[in-house]
């Protein structure tokens, strides 16, 4: 006796969160059944392995059919075929677009191309995330990228509108899209200690302050590309390190303001010129695409690492940087 066909269709589509997770994690039906058995579900419910197998198959089939709709979440809301309560719809979408930290760190800043996709099996081996799951996450990034890439308006809003993601997840996707578009290098060994959250934080600030959207809200691609004019203008900062008087003046302003407030004052005082030169050099080089890509590498090399070797506490770094940029405004030519 073999089962040829075995289906269950509810008027309200049944979604089992645990099975959904297993499916998203890319497990095969067999593996999923084994994992569920291990979770002790058979003992809890008194079911048999055959029942579990049939149930898992059924859910997998449902998810497979829903996947097409999940690629364009608004369709999931308006479709008539599967009756799913709104809260469940939200859960389906949110979980489908959720990604693994380990995975996103691997592809952040990479071009979302076929080439990268070919490398996914390496990533899968490295991170222990199934290839299937890697593909889903990668395709999600790419899909979101494609949809919002040529759009006007705020990046986060666009993502939210077209993919119905939560605010948090939409911001994360904005960061991913922004990084992918500008191809920032994040994979270097030096940068490994940075989490996705760190980069997402940077991305958000950069989108707010460095993009076309920061100046004019009616341009295509406004939140994706850096504002070329702004980068050009950054070149002018060179005077801060090239002009010796200005450099000294800047230093004295910063030192006066921070005296007694900084635990690492002496180190700062001693290093000021180096630090300032490092920062300004990073800024002035940003007109070249290659240097844009290396932005984070350069920042770490030129600024973060010197600070770290002197054991600056975070609060001191913050105070210093605030004072560093604030004092510039009182210099001649920057008023």
């Amino acid at each position: 006796m073999t089962s040829e066909l075995d289906i269950f269709v509810g008027n309200t589509t049944l979604i089992d969160e645990d099975v959904y997770r297993l499916w998203l994690d890319g497990y095969s039906v067999g593996d999923a059944v084994a994992l569920r058995v291990r979770s002790g579900i058979l003992e809890q419910t008194g079911a048999t392995a055959a029942v579990l197998q049939s149930d898992t198959m059924d859910h997998y089939r449902t998810f497979h059919m829903l996947e097409r709709l999940l690629h364009a979440p608004p369709k999931l809301l308006h479709q008539l075929i599967y009756q799913i309560p709104p809260s469940r719809q939200a859960l389906l979408i949110e979980r489908y677009y959720a990604f693994d930290e380990a995975f996103v760190r691997e592809v952040l800043g990479k071009k979302l191309s076929k080439g990268t996709k070919k490398d996914l099996d390496d990533i899968s081996t490295k991170t222990g995330i199934t290839l299937k799951s890697c593909r889903r996450q990668f395709d999600n990034f790419k899909r979101v990228f494609k949809v919002v890439e040529e759009m006007r308006g705020s990046l986060v809003d666009n993502i939210q509108q077209h993919f119905l993601l939560s605010d948090r997840l939409a911001r994360d996707y904005a960061a991913i899209v922004f990084f992918a578009n500008n191809r920032f290098e994040t994979g270097k060994k030096k940068l490994q200690y940075l989490s996705f959250g760190d980069f997402a934080f940077c991305a958000e600030l950069m989108i707010q302050n460095w993009t076309l959207g920061a100046v004019d809200s009616q341009v295509d691609d406004m939140d994706m590309d850096l504002d070329k004019e702004f980068l050009q203008d950054l070149k002018e900062l060179k005077v801060l390190v090239a002009d010796k008087d200005l450099l000294d003046l800047h230093k004295s302003l910063v030192c006066t303001a921070l005296r007694g407030k900084l635990g690492v004052f002496s180190e700062m005082e001693a290093n000021f010129k180096n630090l300032s030169r490092g920062l300004v050099n990073v800024a002035t080089k940003l007109t070249h695409n290659k240097d844009v890509r290396d932005l984070f590498v350069d920042l770490v090399e030129k600024f973060v690492e010197p600070c770290r070797s002197d054991h600056w506490p975070l609060s001191d770094v913050r105070l210093f940087l605030n004072q560093y940029s604030a004092s510039v405004h009182s210099l001649d030519g920057f008023r």
């Binding site: 269709v9 419910t45 075929i81």
Partner: protein, 1041 residues
Amino acid sequence: MPGKLKVKIVAGRHLPVMDRASDLTDAFVEVKFGNTTFKTDVYPKSLNPQWNSEWFKFEVDDEDLQDEPLQITVLDHDTYSANDAIGKVYIDIDPLLYSEAATVISGWFPIYDTIHGIRGEINVVVKVDLFNDLNRFRQSSCGVKFFCTTSIPKCYRAVIIHGFVEELVVNEDPEYQWIDRIRTPRASNEARQRLISLMSGELQRKIGLKVLEMRGNAVVGYLQCFDLEGESGLVVRAIGTACTLDKLSSPAAFLPACNSPSKEMKEIPFNEDPNPNTHSSGPSTPLKNQTYSFSPSKSYSRQSSSSDTDLSLTPKTGMGSGSAGKEGGPFKALLRQQTQSALEQREFPFFTLTAFPPGFLVHVGGVVSARSVKLLDRIHNPDEPETRDAWWAEIRQEIKSHAKALGCHAVVGYSESTSICEEVCILSASGTAAVLNPRFLQDGTVEGCLEQRLEENLPAGCGFCHIPYDELNMPFPAHLTYCYNCRKQKVPDVLFTTIDLPTDATVIGKGCLIQARLCRLKKKAQAEANATAISNLLPFMEYEVHTQLMNKLKLKGMNALFGLRIQITVGENMLMGLASATGVYLAALPTPGGIQIAGKTPNDGSYEQHISHMQKKINDTIAKNKELYEINPPEISEEIIGSPIPEPRQRSRLLRSQSESSDEVTELDLSHGKKDAFVLEIDDTDAMEDVHSLLTDVPPPSGFYSCNTEIMPGINNWTSEIQMFTSVRVIRLSSLNLTNQALNKNFNDLCENLLKSLYFKLRSMIPCCLCHVNFTVSLPEDELIQVTVTAVAITFDKNQALQTTKAHVEKSLQRASTDNEELLQFPLELCSDSLPSHPFPPAKEHLESASSNSGIPAAQRDRCSSWIELIKLKAQTIRRGSIKTTVTVEKTSPMGEGNFRNRSAAPCANSTVGVVKMTPLSFIPGAKITKYLGIINMFFIRETTSLREEGGVSGFLHAFIAEVFAMVRAHVAALGGNAVVSYIMKQCVFMENPNKNQAQCLINVSGDAVVFARESELEVVSTQQPAANCQPACTGGEVTT
């Protein structure tokens, strides 16, 4: 020119890409009705076209309006080649033809293609302007309402129940016409869909005409089926019950049986009347075991004769009316005469209803059924479907005579079905023989109401169990006892019926789903030889199915079956029998005896040991089941279980005749359990197998209950969380030397595993009950068995169970008392002779069983000589208790929240899709149906030539069923409804050819589109009208543990 149909095509969305080059579609729409076609403009290059067409107007006869569906085709315009069809929408405009239903159909419909499935949606608005039709000789029957619901619809009142209507139409199946060889599968499927739609319309119109002839205005319990007879044609047939319905003016005015006196209630008071029924006939010794009356009168010849089996479980008698005077008091005799005269005018006194207005059902005789094996022949003249008509007439005649033999004038819960394999067809009909109250069957009921009160003095809760036949004149001895409730009349020891549990029945404990499953191998044969073989097998199958049912019922410690449905399916090389029913313990019937195993060779020691081991297991199971289903009738005597039985086997008892019912006077014998055991003789391995299979049925996991009736006795605190589902399984049998036993085991496992899977899937709904579990078996190919299950899972609130039950009991008491008080002046004198007897037995038994667990001696009853006092006393208790019940209603589940939004189906593109509930039940828990919008009757075909790519057979069928649900929901939403009740999947024919990568499936579904409102939304009219009022859900209320 009686009607103008107006159609507007608004917009489309999510259309498929038809032009690969541009990834877009140039869509336009053809709107066709009858022979007239209109077209919209092409909306270029869009997947979300906005046509906003003008109103297309069709001027048509109302006959056409009823028959024809509106056909909307969406196409992709192609300048150079032929336009490609994207898909179609068929809209049945029938709901627009009667005034009370929908006025407009407006909404998003899935665009359906038989090859690709749903491909986007289209927004359509449809209206009908009807002109008054003064033609007396009209062919149309606009205005007759149709309901699938097999009870009086919730917001109506039955003025008269006229009776049985039936009709069938036949045609050639387009799939088998010569043209099918040259047309595409799509064209062929569409021709079939359209033809069935047309035939359904015609059928409905013709039935409507019959109803108008009978002066009715509605058909309730409308069941339409189609038989795919292959080469010989296509038959669409329908049966129903013609009624005259009155709409209850406002939903609040509708306070059904369980309420304080409203206007309607005054007219239906008998439900709770005291019991003045004077049954004076001499009591006789209650004895004799249950027997099967089994009379296979089979004869088979080519065309017209039939092989049939009578399977009335309860004994039957040859005489119908002669006993009337003897059996009951003068009232009863009068009633009987009236019923008879009312019913005798009818050719077939059949009713497709399974639940009845209070008082309608007087006595129930037992299940009557008839089957007949026919050879199909090409239908030569579609306009004269006489052969098929004759076949059915024959079967109905037989049913009628069976009913008569049981002393009944009518058959209720009547249904018909067929099973076809190649050219052999088994026609089946079954129902429950019953005696009905004539009140609803006559005209001018309202005036007659007062006098009728006299006759309606039936004891509540047990009256229907009393035997309608004459105990002195039974051809088969049956085990009759005095009713355990009223002690006045005789009842059988087991009752099988096809109806729902009557609302006033007193049940102890909870019920459960009981199934008998059976396979029989059969040699492959041709034509007549085949039919003969089947005819010969049928009686044996029926017999075994009944033995199984009886054994399982006893094993559960129960004594009655409701909703019995026996399906016999014929295949190439086997016959399958599947019987489903809901077992309950009726308080009025005696405690069932245990099952006694008897070995063949009593001298063998080890064998004996084995036997006693089995016996112990059985006894344990019975005890466990009693606990599980909370069956603790007032008097349980230990000796009942597993007591030895002197008498050998039922067969022998068949021969004993009338001698038992003598006139000697005895008192009620409550401890007759010893004689009541059921013997199973283990004389061969087969029997052993049977016993084993009895014990292998696993009870549902805790927190789960299941039944195949509308509601579960003993559960009444439903929440609004419901989940309707369809599950399909197909297994392939290993064809190597199949034996009957292996086959049985396979089939048994299939059903059991299916149930287990359901319990597992729905575990998040615990505590919950699967209601209206409907199994269908088919044998699509030699080695394939297909089982389709549709049911609804309803969550109930466990915590409130006890409290509510109590409140319900009290409430039921109260309503009894109010009614009584009101009617006091009147029935009091008239029924003076009944005073010593108990006024309302179920209630009393309750209190007593609660207070003392002893039996109810007659003396105690007599002490209560003034029952008015008793009532007043109880009424007080209730008033204190009734407040509690409100809690149940206000509780809404999280799922329910989304439901209000969609009450008006908004056609606007931006709105999210409204929730449409679907349920096979006639009600929605925790809600009131405020409007019936019309019948939904849809037929779909889906075919694929890329089976693997669509996920194999499972993927294909899963998607298709989901699509069918979606289309049903869309139609309901477009009618302005938010639920389908009495939903049924009547057919799911699945054929596959994996080698060719092909599959095809036909599905036929129907139901009633309704608008419901949550009870919390409705105004509470009176303080005494909490919650559960109009819901059948509360009908189990009288039941306690």
